[in-house]
């Protein structure tokens, strides 16, 4: 009924049709190499690729807008903290010092800004990848994928159930919020931030209780149908690998190889334009 809810939706794209395992392996491979590498050219390419993927997966901007803002906000706070606490880290890393402005402890250098730009790129490329993975993978398939690469199935299932309940909890949140507004808590944009925060706190309590109820019922329902009986379970949603899955994994590995090759040519994780 409501399209603005966060989470998996069936979409007719090739990314949706690839199996959860392939997507998971691809995601892990790309984020790992991207986190290790400080080669800006490589990171820019990864960022472009991941935004292209989000486009190809037909995920609309408004579906992840809130989350993107949240991630950028946290990312920026992180960068500010680094600037305050370790303003000379860039100089240490790159071994040169091009002063932009300031002096003493707070000398801002091109190296520092360049280093922080690399960090920002890491946020920027990994976020769309995570969104693509979560929004195009059926939670049970995702769980089957996790289980296949070695995660215990109870943990995998817990992840799947959490993903599945996000929309339910969101709709509970909405109902409770409306009911509280009727009682007189103003959480619309009409009132100030402090009042809105207070109003939101009033929603959390009933939300926690209704979620706990939900968990209680679902865990009983699962036990009554023998969840946890054996060390292994089969997965109805498990997909056999098709050519496109193999293709996706190979493509991911190819990108990882490029990343590794760059380590060799750069003589380390850093690409240093200052030398």
């Amino acid at each position: 009924m409501d399209n603005s809810l966060f989470g998996y939706k069936a979409r007719e794209t090739w990314i949706n049709h690839t199996t959860g395992t392939a997507k998971l392996v691809g995601f892990l491979a790309l984020t790992t190499i991207g986190m290790i590498s400080y080669d800006t050219r490589f990171l820019v390419a990864l960022t472009i690729l991941s935004f292209a993927l989000i486009k190809m997966a037909h995920i609309e901007y408004q579906e992840y807008a809130l989350l993107l803002r949240l991630v950028l906000f946290i990312g920026l706070i992180n960068l500010v903290m680094i600037t305050v606490l370790a303003p000379q880290y860039g100089v240490q890393l790159y071994g040169t010092k091009h002063i932009l402005f300031g002096s003493g402890w707070f000398t801002i250098t091109t190296e520092q800004l360049f280093y922080e730009a690399n960090l920002l790129l890491k946020y920027l490329f990994s976020f769309p990848l995570a969104i693509v993975l979560l929004f195009t993978t059926n939670p049970s398939e995702f769980a089957a994928g996790l289980n296949k690469i070695g995660v215990p199935y109870k943990v995998a299932y817990a992840v799947a159930i959490t993903l599945r309940y996000i929309p339910d909890v969101q709709s509970d949140y909405r109902t409770i919020s409306l009911a509280q507004q009727a009682r007189g808590y103003e959480i619309s944009k009409k009132s100030n931030l402090m009042k809105r925060m207070k109003g939101i706190v009033q929603i959390i309590l009933p939300l926690v209780f209704s979620s706990l109820n939900r968990i209680d019922t679902i865990s009983q329902a699962m036990e009554l149908r023998r969840f946890g009986r054996y060390n292994k379970r089969s997965w109805y949603q498990e997909q056999s690998f098709s050519k496109s899955d193999v293709g996706m994994i190979l493509a991911a590995l190819f990108i990882v190889m490029i990343g590794v090759l760059l380590f060799v040519t750069n003589g380390g994780r850093m690409w240093n334009p200052f030398k």
Partner: protein
Amino acid sequence: MVEPFIDFQHVTFKYNAQSEPTLHDVSFQIYPGEKVLIAGASGSGKTTLLRLLNGLIPQAYQGDVEGELKINGKNILNQSLFDLSLQAGTVLQDSDAQFVGMTVAEDIAFALENDNQPIKAIKEKVVKWATRFGLKTRLNLAPQSLSGGQKQRTAMAGVLVDEGKLLLFDEPLASLDPAAGADAMSVIDELQQERNMTVIVIEHRIEEVLRANVDRVIVVANGKIIANDNPTAIIQAGILSENGLDEPLYVQLLRRAGAPVDTLPNVANIEQVDASAYKQQIQAIAEPVQSLVRNGKQLIVNNLTFSYDHQEPLFKDLSTTIHEGEILGIVGKNGSGKTTLSHLLTGFLKPSSGDIQLNGRSLLGNSIKERADHIGYVLQNPNHMITKSVVFDEVASGLRLRKIDEEEVNERVRKILQLVDLDGMRNWPISALSFGQKKRLTIAAVLVLKPEILILDEPTAGQDATHTSQLLSFLKNINASNHTTIIIITHDMHLLANFVQRAVVIVDGQILADTTPAELLANEKLVEAASLRTTSIYRLAQRLDIAHPEELNAAIRK
């Protein structure tokens, strides 16, 4: 002599968290192929009984068990939850909450996945059971998107894949509308015959369950078995109403007409009971249907159009008028727009065109908070409304937020709490209240704002006859003393038949009928469109050839 399938001997059970036992010295047997109804008011111990049968006690709820409990000749307590689940499948109460799978197919497959069966075998079984329950075309849908009846059938299929011999149903009718409930009961009946299963149904809605030809009724109250006999003997003994249960409507009618219910053969079966000797007595108590008394117009809904994003409009030019002091019932199938309409009235949703006027003034410019001063709305689930931890504070919060001085707050809250019979508990933690008490608390918290109109979404869901009648007398009271208009969204037949004055039937966003409940419940076409059922009184009138069944419907209103 057949061995009993289930054998309870002098079972007493106390939860660790409680000081008193919940079950006292309970003994009964259930034989293979029997269909048994365990009936009792809330708090009677019937849910505890079910938990003992499926192994949730002692494995999920700890406590002390005394006595002997056997299933298939083996002690229940020595078996694991997993072993038990292979013998006794449980369909839990809230089918929405018990779905584990993302799709219907996965949910049906869940138990088999856990048994680590090969995928191919699982898929075959899923198709087999989905076909049996008419769900084959729905395999890839989310269970939440199904109708109530289909949800129930999905839950049943998910349990029946085990091919166990015993099926346990925990209040299977609780979240179904009357038509879907009747379907569910007939599916249960068929299954039992086709597979010779043993079926135990836990319910307090006796009327609907009796239509499924149960063999035996066990009545539980205060943790003890009050009666254990065939349905006719139970009805004849007249013990249902004193134990917080509703007698079927036609039995209520027969009693009123002075028919000797306690000796009438087959009285539990509406299709077989022979009441022809009492036809005249029954006709004599018929009451003309009261035409609606209409006071001044209060709330006018004018050409309302509404649609959820990018979808076909749910309402198109909907118009109706609600009068001051009315008790109005809004009925209709799940998903036909009942709740949406109440959300439009309270401002939770905004119409795309049309107007809503209260006492001649448009409400559309008002915020949710402003409308709440006039139109109070009580959600179905009290847990969605409660934000405080103490009873008094919960009711006071709406007033405090409106900056009313503490002295007046105190006075108004106490008055409302007395009205809902919670004043003695005003300093209690809310977590200690029962579901029914929480429901009354949320109504009080809304009423304290003195709304002119009170909207209640399924007020009787999950409440037994005793609590329902308490709630209704309280609503009647505020309706009479404060002239509060009451709008009830419901598919509870007893509530409609006994309480509501005017019924508006909404189907697919259209008002299909606007009539008295007595007439509605005697109109087969309307009843079908609204996913209700005609009353058993109507059926009795049909069998006795009585011309105006709606006048008999009207006769049992108090």
